[in-house]
Amino acid sequence: MTGGSALIEDERLAKAFSVAMLAAVLLPITQNWRRHKRDGFPLSYYPMFSDRRREKVNVVHLVGLTADGERHLIPYHYAGTGGLNQVRRQLNRLADRGAAGVACEAVARRLAVDGGGPLGHVVTVQVVRGRYRLATYFDGAKEPLSERVFAARPVERTP
């Protein structure tokens, strides 16, 4: 049958394409036996949820301080676009490279323009890495065990 309604019309081609696709999807399984594993897209070995998690966890995030020293968590969307995980990864990369000031400045600028509610009183933005103990955190002790400030910038509002 020839009609050309699709790229693959031939039985042999259909089989070859199917085998190639299934093999390609299965191939990343070999990453599990490698010392330095590498994930890919769209061919992945699906390592999500397989890592060992420690009892103490570090998280890079944004903090806003008011003139009275009150502390507020600043939502991720002030730092970038694309969802929480995307912004989280970007903050991690910037902090690791010593470039957290870039994100800090961007957040301070956005807060100066559209920071409302409790964030309307924030005068300083920080990018921090907080260390938390999971069990105590979910027991209600929300304070970090320790915290490192990577960058701090003032929020300059025009009257």
Binding site: S5, A14, L22, Y45, V59, G80, G83, R97
Partner: protein
């Protein structure tokens, strides 16, 4: 075209299916893509103008040493959107299908290169690539208005192989996730549920600190490790047993239903949205989506 009956794995691969089933999958997958890509138009536009040093290419984007210009990224987005519209309509499918699959692959690879690998996109892209090269527009399409196509469209292996392949791809992705857990640092002890509980807790912690909303159920269940153990055992069984879904249709539907429910469970406990999976469309090739579509049209 061969008319002899296939044997062995060929019998699985070349199972017959009606043209309308494949066409329904084209419409559903394409419509989902359209919704997914259109809703993120501002995100894609901003992404193309992000700090270049954050670029870590994955997938086909690895051919790039640095990000492309914002106008090139905008062009890729527009191409994906236009080809998706043509794909849904079944317009010039021989050309629009492959362009749809490839442009979606490139667009989502480029997006992931700026952040992390969003594993929920993998199956969507693999399904799109399959539907893009298959005769998925021989029915329910603009192309199908021609008399010759209408005559051709019926029940045939040429409409069955893409569906079988999509199902094969789906179960393999779950199987890989199961193997990764067993071959990970925890091995079989992953099934104790401790690790899953910690994953849920870390995810909730990150969400709270980054100003999002952690799933309240995950925090509430934290003290109950037995709950996490049963969830871990269930998901391991579902993932490692996924290839059994290819044995027969009844088993396939049972597996698909459980996988679908698992993702809703993940959503309620962790607040993580595996969007394509939650929509149920990932599992549509296991079913008869043409009936639902015809029911909607005939209503």
């Amino acid at each position: 075209m061969s008319t002899r009956s296939p044997r062995g794995w060929g019998r699985y691969l070349l199972a017959e299916a009606p043209a309308t089933r494949l066409a329904a999958l084209r419409i559903l997958t394409g419509a989902w893509t359209l919704h997914y890509v259109w809703r993120r138009r501002r995100m894609f536009a901003r992404l193309a103008r992000t700090e270049p040093s954050l670029f870590r290419p994955v997938g086909p984007a690895r051919v790039l040493r640095r990000p492309v210009s914002p106008s090139s990224a905008d062009l890729l987005y527009a191409t994906t959107l236009a080809s998706t519209v043509a794909f849904v309509a079944g317009f010039r499918h021989r050309y629009s299908g492959p362009v749809y699959g490839c442009s979606l692959l490139c667009l989502l690879s480029y997006r992931n290169s700026w952040s992390m690998i969003f594993h929920n996109d993998n199956a969507l892209v693999l399904h799109a690539l399959t539907l893009g090269v298959a005769p998925a527009a021989d029915a329910l399409s603009v192309d199908a208005r021609s008399a010759e196509r209408v005559r051709r469209a019926g029940t045939h292996w040429r409409y069955g192989w893409p569906i079988q392949l999509m199902n094969g791809v789906t179960v393999l992705t779950y199987f890989l996730a199961g193997v990764a857990k067993l071959k990970g640092p925890l091995g079989l002890s992953w099934a104790t549920g401790e690790s899953l509980r910690s994953q849920v807790a870390v995810d909730g912690l990150r969400k709270e600190l980054l100003g999002s909303r952690a799933a309240p159920l995950g925090a509430r269940l934290y003290p109950h490790v037995a709950v996490y153990q049963s969830l871990a055992l269930g998901s391991l069984a579902l993932e490692l047993g996924a290839p059994l879904a290819l044995v027969n249709r009844r088993l396939a539907r049972f597996w698909a239903l459980n996988a679908f429910l698992m993702h809703w469970g993940i959503f309620f406990v962790m607040g993580i949205r595996f969007r394509y999976q939650l929509s149920g469309l990932l599992y549509a090739p296991f079913l008869e989506p043409e009936r639902a579509l015809q029911g909607l049209v005939g209503r």
